[in-house]
Amino acid sequence: MLNLTPKEVSKRSALRINPLRTCQPVGAMYAALGVHGCLPHSHGSQGCCSYHRTFLTRHFKDPAIASSSSFTEGASVFGGGANLKTAVRNIFDIYDPEIIAVHTTCLSETIGDDLTGYIQDAKITEGKYVVHTNTPSYVGSHITGYANMISGFIKYLSESTGDKNGKLAVFPGFVNPGDMREMKRIMTLMGIPFTMLPDSSGVMDSPMTGTYEMFPRGGTTVAEIIDLGNCQSALALGEMTSEAPAETLEKKCKVPYQTLPLPIGVESTDAFIMALNHFCKEEVPYALEEERGQLLDIMLDSSQYSHEKTAAIFGDPDTVLGITQFVLEMGMIPKYVVTGTPGSTFDKRVTELFEKYQVEGCVVKSASDLFELHQWIKNDPVDVMIGGTYGKAVARAEDIPLVRAGFPIIDRYVHSYLPIVGYKGAMRLIELILTAIMDRQDRDCADEDFEIVM
């Protein structure tokens, strides 16, 4: 497994090997799938759309619908305006979505297609919507594209009428439907009126009922997006993912926002709940206090199994940051913390955590890749890896257990339905981590050290 990877780390300035991120459009597509009745549309060659649908389908094991402008060489030379026009007409004709969410690709970006103009010129059925965002694949990552698409919805749709609607706008970050459900459950428990954008629950984790629904029940409605402009305030969960859309909403509609980390682990969930609590000054319900206490109880009871165990954490920046904080809360050492997405905020926030928890010899790196992580591990291994499926080859090569969390997970089932956010999600995550560690103890110990009680 990965036999060609040398132990010696060499500096690379041009060659990316085994990336830890992908391109903007797939993030935009996922964001658009979190809007009710929305068909994401990829403005470029049809290969992009096919790859992105495949990627999302493999992660969610659920249909990921999207259409394409199907550029040919001609369109690449003369511009994709005609293709988009045709596409919009056909889409409303055949699939009848409520809204089409267009994102660009490196192709249409490189030729400089004017999407705003094209959309103004397109024939849009009465009561239907077409929005767009620019997602050049050569800038940022899928996370950037996700944020951009959310901003796109806001720019096109959200309006401030002057009448506040009493709601909290919530940007959930690049997370699974199961996570979004958990965020909603917490807000509902706390009696918070909210609009969450996007909301892929009920879409990308929709049930098998014997009937296929192209546009399932879930997703933020267009009406809700429009009304976002009237929200009291906004909560951006995940600085590196959600702050940009929150800023867009503030700029356009003067909705003030607060940025928080993804609510992964104790303190980040605390911060989420406190922010909600400040929004709605009811007492925090006992149910949440109970869940929190249960989580702490588990963490304390099991602490000797997590204490000073080392982890390599890789994946998307806000998710990795959240998991890093949680493993620190568990007393673990997050030895390698990497994301493929570029951006120094990541390095800064993770370094702050290292300092807060006074851990030594830990490395953080944004714009990194799995090849580099593997080389580090070869030189100094860890007890557990936490991240997506692509880490599995490293895990096997180095005989390290892999806890699957984040994106993409394309070799297991169930993960997208169940949260890692909130106290409940943390219980799930700690179970996964502890099991990985303790299974190894059970596997590797001598017969005479095999423990019945642990």
Binding site: N3, R12, P19, R21, Q46, Y51, T54, F71, G210
Partner: protein
């Protein structure tokens, strides 16, 4: 109205005009003509991919000893990394790059100022880290647009590092589907690799063309061929290698499995090196038997023929019981099958031998000859899109050309039903009344599911869950749902078992919630109305 018309009628007139040529009902006796290999209507949710996917993803990617660098933004390289199941195995002498994804990961500055410098540096880093024998460069969309000259860079790197460096300008927007990419890849291999080796010819040697070793199909096929006594010089390109393909011109015969993706090479090798080719099909016991017997006829050696029959008898006996028990489950079922370029055809007879009729079929990126047979080749008009994909012309190689069989011998074989340089396409096996849809799309999937209600639908990952949601069993024929092999005899049994499983999983009996079907009983438990 037949289902075809019902479905097509739902389209607007413009789309109808386009799609009516791509969707036909097979009529007995008639020449059934279909439109294919034309551009997809924008906005239609096609299943097609792009030129890069066909070139790098399908043909070049599987070459195990080649360090393929995707030149472009990160996405394309990422998506084509480790996901296509073209299995490969390295050894002490063969570096296997399958687990690696190499990319120049172009950034905005590279787009603005050109990516050549970064590509050169990336090649340098790849050489220093991996010391490969061969590097391939595959371009994605922006590269062509900004004008990076990857071919010049490849030539320069060959010089600089003393290794082979191949360049493929397979930008995603070229052509109308993956198909253009196959062609570009074929051209590149023909121009730069095939015939560059100096191995000695070996008796009864063949190349396996258009076999990508999905789920280990190629290995299973090779196992059978080796049992009989054949020598496989190279496989293009599943578990294939630059090292082996260099010598592919020394083989006696090219066996073409996937016609669509590789017929170019077969044709060109015939012209340039005199290597004969025949269309074989190692999917299903009947097709496998015919292919093995055709090969025996070609080589015309009694011992080879004897071994062929002995191996067939043994392999067939080993699966007989299993096949029969699957057939007992499957007989009478109907299937839809919609994948790639040749596979949709290959599985029809295997399904028939399990008692399953294909009522709906189509290709994602097939050409008319893949449907109607190569005899229509001359009647296919080139359009602007296909003209954009370079066709290269080869001529007899003065050093390496060698006639294998004489034209008379080949004619005799053809007369005896051996498909020498022949392929009769899907029509040969599809049943009358079946509906064929070229460049199938989401809308048609949904609609035909409703009207044809097949028991099993073979498709790809993008459709799979749409189909299952509709209550219909689905198996992926691109990836075999991470199972396989499906080739040869044992593979046929694997397939049969998997299909039987897909149709009989207990979930199907539980789809409907009981409260959705049972009428509400009155308070048998003493319940109160009020609650």
């Amino acid at each position: 109205m037949d289902p075809r018309d019902i479905v097509l009628d739902k389209y607007s007139s413009k789309v109808y005009k386009n799609r009516k040529e791509h969707v036909i009902t097979i009529n007995e006796g008639e020449p059934n003509v279909i439109q294919a290999d034309t551009r997809t209507v924008p906005g239609i949710m096609t299943n097609r991919g792009c030129c890069y996917a066909g070139c790098k993803g399908v043909v070049i990617g599987p070459l195990k000893d080649v360090a393929t660098i995707t030149h472009g933004p990160i996405g394309c390289g990422f998506y084509s990394w480790g996901t296509r199941r073209n299995k490969a195995k390295g050894d002490e002498n063969t570096k296997a790059f399958g687990e690696y994804c190499l990319s120049t990961d172009m950034q905005e500055t590279d787009i603005v100022f050109g990516g050549e410098k970064k590509l050169k540096q990336a090649i340098k880093e790849a050489v220093e880290i991996f010391h490969p024998e061969c590097i391939a460069i595959a371009s994605t969309c922006p590269v062509g647009l900004i004008g990076d000259d990857i071919h010049a860079i490849a030539a320069e790197a060959e010089e600089l590092y003393g290794i082979k460096v191949l360049a493929f300008s397979c930008e995603g927007y070229k052509g109308v589907s993956q198909s253009g990419g196959h062609h570009i890849a074929n051209n590149g291999l023909m121009k730069n690799v095939i015939g560059t080796g100096d191995a000695e010819p070996i008796k009864y040697s063949v190349n396996l063309l258009g076999e990508y070793n999905i789920g280990g199909d190629g290995w299973e096929t090779e196992r059978i061929l080796k049992r009989i006594g054949y020598h496989v010089v190279s496989v293009m390109t599943g578990d294939g290698s630059y090292d082996a393909i260099k010598n592919s011109h020394t083989a006696d015969l090219n066996l073409v499995q996937c016609h669509r993706s590789i017929n170019y090479i077969a044709e060109m090798m015939k012209t340039k090196y005199g290597v004969d080719w025949m269309k074989i099909n190692f999917i299903g016991p009947e097709a496998t038997k015919k292919s093995l017997r055709d090969m025996a006829r070609y080589f015309n050696d009694p011992e080879l023929s004897r071994r062929t029959e002995a191996v067939i008898a043994e392999e067939e006996a080993a699966i007989a019981e299993g096949m029969a028990s699957c057939k007992a489950v499957l007989a009478g079922k109907t299937a839809a099958i919609y994948v790639g370029g040749s596979r949709s055809h290959h599985y029809i007879n295997l399904l028939k031998s399990l008692g399953v009729e294909v009522v709906l079929a189509g290709y994602e990126f097939g050409h008319r000859d893949d449907y109607e047979g190569r005899e229509v080749l001359d009647t296919i008009k080139k359009d602007a899109d296909s003209k954009n994909i370079e066709s290269i012309t080869v001529t007899k190689d003065p050093d390496h050309y060698k006639e294998r069989l004489s034209e008379q011998e080949l004619m005799a074989l053809r007369a005896a039903g051996v498909p020498m340089e022949e392929y009769s396409g899907m029509w040969e096996d599809i049943m009358d009344g079946a509906i064929i849809t070229d460049d199938y799309n989401h809308f048609e999937t949904e609609e035909f599911l409703k009207y044809l209600k097949p028991d099993i639908f073979f498709s790809g990952i993008k459709d799979k869950f749409v189909i299952q949601r509709s209550g219909v069993a689905s198996r992926q024929l691109h990836s075999y749902d991470y199972a396989g092999p499906y080739a040869g005899f044992k593979g046929a049994l694997n397939f049969a078992n998997d299909v039987a499983m897909a149709i009989t999983v207990p979930v199907w009996d539980m789809v409907q919630a009981p409260w959705k079907k049972e009428p509400l009983l009155e308070g048998s438990l003493g319940g109160m109305e009020s609650c």
